[in-house]
Amino acid sequence: MNYFDLLILVVPETLIVVTAFVALIVDLAEMRSRPIKTRMFTAAMITSVGCMVSLYWLSQTGQPSRYFDGMLVIDPLTQLLKQIVLVMTIFTALISIESKFTDHVGEYFFLILLATVGMMFLVSSENLLMIFVALELLSLSLYILTAFNKQNIKSAEAALKYFLFGGMSAAFMLFGLSLVYGLSGEINLIQIAGNLHKPPMDPLLIVALVMVMIGFGFKIAAVPFHLWAPDAYQGAPTPSAAFIASGSKVASFFILAKVMMVGFLGQEGSGAWRSFSQGWLPLIAIIAAASILLGNLAAIAQTSVRRLLAYSAIAQAGYILIGLLANNQQGIESLVFYTTTYALTVLGAFGVVNIVQERSGEEKFSAFAGLAKRAPLLSFCMMIFMLSLAGIPPLAGFFGKFYLFASAVGAGKSLGLLWLVIFAIAMSAVSLYYYLQVLKQIYVSAAPADAPAVQSTILTRTIIALLAFSVLLLGCVPNLLLDRIIIPAVKAVVSHP
């Protein structure tokens, strides 16, 4: 294979890299003297167009194939995941337009696109080395994006915390991966699974598994590796936080599922009630239960909407892990469906928070008081996002959760995972309380007399309304995404492994 063939294979990624440079150069060369709003708008448009071209290219799927020992895997599922990631990037770029936290506009979008490239390589790899490199590309871009608001000391604090935790967990992960390599002699996930000894597990493999899980646990903000999340969600510029919470989550969950289900095939063990046995299932079951518990309980005490979203994200990570625990085709389908709809929901919620914060300077609950009067459309959208996160039908969050839980209960024999599902459903009843606290501010509390008006451009309102509409639509007609797109992609991969 020569370099030209390789270039053809990675055209989508290349397009994004090119777009990144275009955004950077246009901003540096042409826009420096213009107002920030124009610069933001231009850069966001360049980003969106680049992503859309890449999206279009991806929709013309090539032959499913693997290259270079699994470093680049092209199949319908990875193509789909790349498309989802690109959609999240487009929305992130569009909700950024309202912000004016930086005058390094070009660099900002450059980093967003670089992170996107990282995610695209991440989801299309089955090779430990490539996974690690892509993950680092993603993480490093995100650290800088978190620190991007230089006027805000919180932004710096959040980024430092995020970076230190991230560096630490990356070290753990690398160590874990090297142990896996040592035990199996391979870095390709499929061959690793073939070379690992069948259970009982090698003690070294258990160490490796735990260390790998630390690395991924950090990326998905699962307990006990979640400590960075509340600060990062609160301190980072809003679009950065939205990006961390959406696209990056989708990609990380997907690759975690792939590493576990493909790389550790045969090392599942069991997480069923009263018949635990060693493997990655019980490990993830415990992490999921802890995340659901801590995320939901800690969210109750929050008074900042962004911290609340952070703790809710920790809880949601627990729910998503339940889909992984199902460890079957349905589980993957539900995981992809839920992360996608969740990412759309969170993007919308951060979009609303962004506007409120830009106008009133803060994002405490009190800043949202009486928002229903001041911005009826945004309030209505926020209601949809919050209720979807709480899992109220007919919104996407409800069906997503239902599908996750149903696939986990249906996995294995004799409803082994029911204990975890009961726990998750019980805790999601708790979650309604804090989501309603936000809505109570918006709809029930009266706005203070000096509350600033909440204006926003038509474009932003349209984007947020579009997100809300898609959350509603995917809840009412989930088969638009599920039966038409996700299930065929997953089936194609499962039937031709």
Partner: protein, 494 residues
């Protein structure tokens, strides 16, 4: 055709959202029109329904094929009865909220969303769909109470929302387990009920689903949301809460928990019947000592809903019929009582303290309210000639056959019921006569036309069913003829 009850309500919501906020008249008109249209469709549905035709499909199309979830709406005698109740309660509730002046369009939007959800629950025969509608009804309740309520409204609203949500979480666990156990190829109620779940599973699945639903029906000791919620709610919302939302719970218990898990039902029957009787007696006793007018009615709802649950547990034809009739009857009577307390009295006097009302000589100031409350009170205490009598009598006869001791205890509940109603009538309206207090210095606003119409509808309904119960009894009885529901009777003692 009956499906239009749901669609009309949600179309009403959409129209209201699009209306300009200043146009209060239009908002009221849209709401009233939607509710009337819903009621008309409900009536048409009842007349079209052929007695004895079992569960008549309305529509059944695949919704989420990969999980074999269907959009399956259907109706039988039981659902039709409750759809009719919902229609009446919706119209009357709007008449009694005619005086709402703040955020009118939002009020009616939430109101109609709630109504639409309730219609949906009564007409769904796919359990997933039923659950969707059931949860859909939670959120509007929260906002109706939290925004337009009175005493302690945010607390009452949150309590109600969380209780409902915990209940529905329990239901969801049971439904997912049932779906998976039955092979994960259908959510259709009739199909699922054919599957016989392992006994050991039924033993815990039944209480999960039954209690999950029955929380909303005010099952003791999970009833505590009811009095606080009712008291905090604005008039129309408390009428709906007591009138139809509590019936959602009872309906779910009957339609889902009892039909799916017959062995579980057999195992837990006695316990639940006992809890129901505790609810009857406890609710009545607590109502007897309340100082707040609305709390009296709130606790009386707990007591009367106990009869519904007791009737369900008898598993005799007469007891089950009585239970469903009691759902209808209590929906009407509780609506009437809450209308008097919340709209006619509280909105005018701005107090619900019985001790303060005593000095106001209300029977002179607002005689129509006094008249309505006396009628409602008589109906509530189970006087022959009103619907409550027919219903509770049947429940008691059924209970006498199944659990004689509990039937006697429930009888005590009725006696206490008479006491608290008489005490309340006397304190709230007629004590001024004995004390010969002059009517309050500033005259109260007279009872408005919408209020009179609303009260007249409710009084006429309870009287009509009381005097000629066959009207509804035939319909209800036919509901228990379908194979799905007829299985229940086999579980009871002859």
């Amino acid at each position: 055709m009956l499906a239009w009850t749901i669609y009309i309500s949600f179309i009403g919501v959409a129209v209201l959202i699009l209306l300009p906020a200043e146009n209060k008249k239009a908002a009221r008109a849209v709401a009233l029109f939607s509710a009337l249209a819903g009621l008309a469709v409900a009536f048409a549905g009842v007349f079209q329904y052929k007695l004895g035709s079992g569960i008549a499909d309305i529509t059944n199309t695949p919704w989420i094929p990969s999980l074999s979830i269907h959009y399956h709406l259907a109706a039988d005698g039981i659902s039709l009865t409750l759809v009719l109740l919902t229609g009446i309660a919706a119209v009357v509730g709007i008449l009694f909220s005619w005086n709402i002046e703040t955020r009118v369009k939002e009020f009616f939007a939430f109101y109609l969303a709630l109504i639409g959800g309730v219609y949906g629950v009564f007409l769904s025969f796919d359990l997933f769909l039923l659950f969707v509608f059931y949860e859909l009804a939670i959120i509007p309740k929260y906002f109706l109470i939290a925004i337009w309520g009175s005493t302690n409204r945010e607390y009452g609203a949150m309590k109600l929302a969380l209780y409902s949500f915990v209940g529905s979480a329990m239901v969801l666990v049971g439904l997912i387990a049932a779906y998976v156990l039955a092979g994960a190829h259908t959510f259709d109620l009739v199909e699922l009920a054919k599957f016989s779940f392992p006994k050991a599973m039924q033993f815990w699945m039944f209480p999960f689903v039954f209690v999950g639903f029955a929380i909303l029906a005010g099952l003791w000791p999970f009833h505590t949301w009811a009095p606080t919620g009712h008291v905090a709610a604005p008039t129309a919302a408390s009428m709906l809460l007591a009138g139809v939302v509590m019936k959602l719970g009872a309906y779910g218990s009957l339609r889902v928990a009892m039909t799916l898990f017959p062995d579980g039902l057999a195992a837990w029957r006695g316990v639940i019947a006992a809890l129901a009787v505790v609810g009857i007696v406890y609710g009545a006793m607590v109502a007897l000592v309340q100082k707040d007018f609305k709390f009296v009615i709130g606790y009386s709802s707990v007591s009367h809903m106990g009869f519904v649950l007791l009737g369900l547990m008898t598993l005799t034809s007469i007891g089950l019929n009585g239970a469903v009739l009691q759902m209808f009857s209590h929906g009407i009577i509780a609506g009437l009582l809450f209308a008097v307390v919340g709209r006619m009295v509280y909105d005018r006097t701005h107090t619900r303290e019985l001790s303060e009302l005593q000095g106001m000589n209300l029977s002179k100031a607002i005689p129509f309210a006094a008249f309505t409350f006396v009628i409602g009170g008589l109906a509530s205490m189970g006087l022959p000639g009103f619907s409550g009598f027919v219903a509770e009598l049947q429940v008691l006869i059924g209970a006498w056959r199944a659990f004689p001791a509990l039937a006697i205890l429930a009888g005590i509940g009725i006696v206490v019921g008479v006491a608290y109603i008489i005490r309340t009538i006397q304190k709230s309206f007629f004590s001024g006569m004995q004390l010969s207090v002059a009517p309050t210095s500033h005259p109260l606003e007279t009872i408005s036309v919408p209020e009179r119409i609303g009260a007249a509808i409710l009084m006429a309904t309870t009287l009509l069913i009381g005097l000629y119960p066959t009207l509804l009894m035939k319909l209800i009885q036919s509901g228990f003829d379908s194979p799905l529901m007829a299985r229940l009777l086999k579980g009871g003692t002859p």
